[in-house]
Symmetry: C2
Subunit: 199 residues, 2 copies
């Protein structure tokens, strides 16, 4: 075997996360290497490009949020309550982990499906599969009459995750604390938004 690694992938991603928390998507490889203690050469030994590094960071941050969301689903019996709880939990999680949340804002899923590095393409494509399946389950329970709407999951996603994310995003990007009163706004707004699917 060869020499053991001095830095783990996660260590480099952690460094990138802190740089991104300050500089956003314009974070440079030089900044990441400075923050991690590795040199640019070492960074490029692990990641084929700056893009791959940042996309990996983005993927990791979103997957971590998703784990939380799955736990939230398990804690609720009522599908309507669960949907609202998913949105509120997204806000809470982002408030508690601002740097992780900032990493989530690096890209948009739809764009990356077309532009992500080859190696990550499949991971990007299937990133939301689990959450969409969960939303499909909850939606089928909550809106039995709309079960045949092919866009049902997409609409539910917009009313729950999209609505919440849109409200908290400005705070995340500005590195400003997400106000606690926003949780209540999100809960009521999501519940009301979902009523558009009823009729």
């Amino acid at each position: 075997m060869g020499r053991p690694a001095k830095f783990t992938d996660d260590q480099l991603l952690d460094a990138a996360r802190e740089v991104v928390a300050v500089h956003g998507v314009t974070a440079t490889v030089a900044q990441v290497s400075a923050a991690s203690g590795a040199t640019t050469g070492s960074v490029y030994h692990r990641f084929r490009s700056r893009e791959e590094l940042l996309v990996r960071l983005w993927l990791r941050s979103i997957e971590r949020l998703h784990e939380r969301l799955f736990e939230v689903e398990a804690e609720h019996d009522d599908p309507g309550e669960a949907l609202v709880a998913l949105a509120v939990e997204t806000a809470r999680y982002s408030r508690e982990h601002p740097a992780e949340a900032r990493a989530m804002t690096l890209y948009r899923h739809e764009r990356l499906v077309h532009t992500a590095p080859q190696v990550l393409h499949d991971r990007v494509v299937h990133l939301n599969d689990g959450v969409f399946a969960m939303l499909g389950r909850l939606a089928a329970q909550r809106f039995p009459t709309a079960a045949d709407d092919p866009h049902l999951v997409r609409r539910v996603f917009t009313c729950v995750i999209g609505l919440c994310y849109g409200l908290i995003r400005p705070y995340i990007v500005a590195a400003t604390p997400i106000p606690v009163w926003l949780d209540d706004v999100i809960a009521r707004a999501v519940a009301a938004a979902l009523t558009t699917i009823d009729q």
Copy 2:
């Protein structure tokens, strides 16, 4: 006097708007000059920097939306209905003018307050004054008991403009049509969000 101008400022801004609609914030001066027919030298004769050009475009797009919003206020007697109508109108306007809407997403107001070019600083700082005054008027009517809350206007702004913008932003950035069903989602969500201010 000297030679008359071959391009007006608005012509150059229009060209920049079309480039931004495709390339977003990474639009280059070369792309703008190509789209307008002017050379980079001419562009720099009008605008001191790329930043000033793009900030001017951003300001123009937001001021144009604001004009619409003032008209909407005048069309409504009930303050609650007016607040909801403001949000829905923002979505409609963005749907009808996707390139203008894309220009609105170039910057965030809070960041520009600190980083905008000297010449534009005042214009940036007072950009929202009119809208905030309008929201203050409507909020004072709609929430008479909360009139002493120093953050009232900020909260109303979040519940109306912030909520709407958060929902439509993904479509604007992706250059995807804003679904019509979103108008209904926005109307109900805004109305519900505003109820958090009542108690």
